[in-house]
Subunit: 136 residues, 2 copies
C-alpha cells in the first residue's frame, strides 16, 4: 500500500497503479466481450463471470465457444488469471485452441455446476495452469 | 468392518480457504442482491458490479437505493471492501444510513460516470474509508 502526496490540482503523478485503475467495466457488460486466441482470432465470448463474494475477486470467466471448431454450445469456466485483457482488441486473449479445449472442464447448457466443489476448482486451476486465487 | 468415510466425493479436507472458496455467484446474479444496514434492515440492492479488467478484482458494487428515505432512484458506487457478505441474510451488509448517504458520491440514472478518473476513485475510497484495491 502506498500513500501518495495530496495533490489538489488533480492527477499529475504516474504510479504503477495508474495503468490499471480506471480500466473498469460493468459486470453486466463483460458478458458478450470477445475472446481471442494467441493469433488474434476471435474464438468465443464471455458468457458470465463468477465472483467470490467474500474476497471480491473474479474467480472464473465462463467462456462460450458455440459452434467453434465443430463444438456445440458449451461453457468453459476459466480462471480469470488465464485470461489477459487486451485493450487493442478490446477483448480477452487466452491460449486456446481445439486441442486445449478438448479436455478442458466444460458443461453444456442444460448442466449445472457445483461451484462449491473444491475438487472442481482445483481441477480448473490445474488444467489452466494458474495458481488458485484463493489460498494465496 | 465399518468404514467411517463420510464423504465419498473425496472432498474431506478442511483448510482456511474452504470457507471462502465455493462462495461464488454469477455476476449476472449479483445484480438484485439485497443490501442491509447494520440493523439487518434491507435498504437497497446491488445494481451492477464494476470489475477491474486487468486485475480481476471487483472494484465497486453500484448500489441502488430507490425511494429509500425520500431519496429518488440514485446509484452509489461503494468499494467492494466496504460491503460484507452475510450468508445468514444472503445479502450484503454495510454501514449505511441516511446521514452517510447524504454526502456519498452518487449519480442519477441519466448521468454517466468517468470511471477512469483517479480522483473520483480516491474520493470513493476515502469516503467509504477503505484502502483502494489497487496500489496495494
Amino acid at each position: 500500500m502506498s500513500h501518495t502526496t495530496t495533490n489538489p490540482s488533480g492527477v499529475t503523478e504516474t504510479s504503477p497503479s495508474s495503468s490499471t485503475h480506471g480500466n473498469l467495466i460493468a459486470a453486466s457488460k463483460v458478458s458478450g466481450t470477445s475472446v481471442y486466441d494467441l493469433n488474434d482470432k476471435k474464438v468465443g465470448s464471455v458468457d458470465d463471470v463468477m465472483i467470490d463474494k467474500s474476497s471480491g475477486r473474479v474467480a472464473y470467466a465462463v467462456l462460450s465457444f458455440g459452434g467453434f471448431l465443430g463444438i456445440g454450445e458449451k461453457y468453459y469456466p476459466m480462471p480469470w488469471a488465464a485470461l489477459k485483457y487486451d485493450t487493442r482488441l478490446d477483448g480477452f486473449v487466452a491460449a486456446i485452441d481445439a486441442t486445449v479445449l478438448e479436455d478442458a472442464p466444460s458443461y453444456s447448457a442444460g448442466e449445472s455446476v457445483d461451484w462449491a466443489d473444491e475438487a472442481y476448482g482445483r481441477r480448473l486451476h490445474e488444467y489452466w495452469k494458474v495458481a488458485p486465487y484463493y489460498g494465496l
